[in-house]
Amino acid sequence: MDHAYALSPALVIDTSQHDSVALNRFCAEVRVRATRIALIELRDAALAADVVQDSLLKLVSNYKLRPAEEWAPLFYSILRNRITDMHRRRKVEKIFDFFFSSDEEEDQPPSWEQIADTALGPEQEVANGQLAGRIADAISALSPRQREAFLLREMEGLSIVDTAAAMKVSEGSVKTHHMRALTRLRELLESDHPAKV
């Protein structure tokens, strides 16, 4: 019995360490892509970084004991909720805009492509930036559901089942939104087809 008691805590620690390493790796990998998603949705570098950090913290604090294969859908579900919260907050801020002033009275934020056009640097880098800008604008032009389905399926490589869990919709709906997103993106980027660039 002594032997068993001596062994079990060591095993527990070992398992949790193994899990935390895997979780750390997951977080590091997912952060880069999740930041891109948040940037497309929020168009604010600081806010996007905050939202991703916040979602990762929640995943680690609440769901670290869940099996590793559940982390991705859980994380994207959390991230999605955070982004929706931010959109809501902006709507409320807009209502009270009458009482607040900002230095630049922009009615329409610049498109990604316009931002890319102002860049200076090596020619290839500028060209890559411009292409990324056009793609980001095209993805922004999709409906929110189409955009989510596209980003989760193509950028994150989530399965249909996981995407459906993260988006809280049916699998059929994921497939349809994904298909429409691809069709629309092809239309929008006809002249920028990556195969021809």
Binding site: R33, T35, R36, L39, I40, R43, D44, A45, A48, E93, F98, F99, F100, S101, S102, D103, E104, E106, P109, P110, W112, I115, A116, T118, A119, E125, N128, G129, L131, A132, G133, I135, A136, I139, F150, L151, R153, E154, M155, G157, I160, E171, V174, K175, T176, H178, M179, L182, T183, L185, R186, L189, H193, P194, A195
Partner: protein, 163 residues
Amino acid sequence: MNPTIPLKFELPESGDIMTTRNHLTSAQIDHYRSGLASAEQAAHIEAHLKNCPQCQQELQFGQQLSQLLAPLPQLAARLPRRSSRTVRWPRVFAAGMATASLALAVFVSVPHLAGSNGAYPGGFDSQSLSPQVADAVQNIEFYQWLSNHPQMLQQGLQNGNPA
């Protein structure tokens, strides 16, 4: 399908009716990629994809777009920074004054609107009450006294003088 193209040219050797000119269309590829294709269609498409690098490339369309988004954080660094929101005090003050004056106007006008003859709204109006109630209201002290002296009520009833 374009009717000017001979039918036998449209059908590849595998008999895949979904292909034209030996290549899958982007619509077919997207249909397959999104998981909407039936098992039979998927099998045909997979058979074609095995030997067609061009269609394989087309299948990667979405993934390629995602990879090309890599410079996005660098672009985001050039986004106009949202300046901190500062309160416009004159507007806040003006709105406060407008609310206060509206509240004052309501406070002043309500009594005038409610009672046209200046009576307290909800108060007794002797003309609108029935005679019994008006009598009770006027002689409330007597009736209170009477309720405390039931023997007097009894005596009055015996004398044929109800109340």
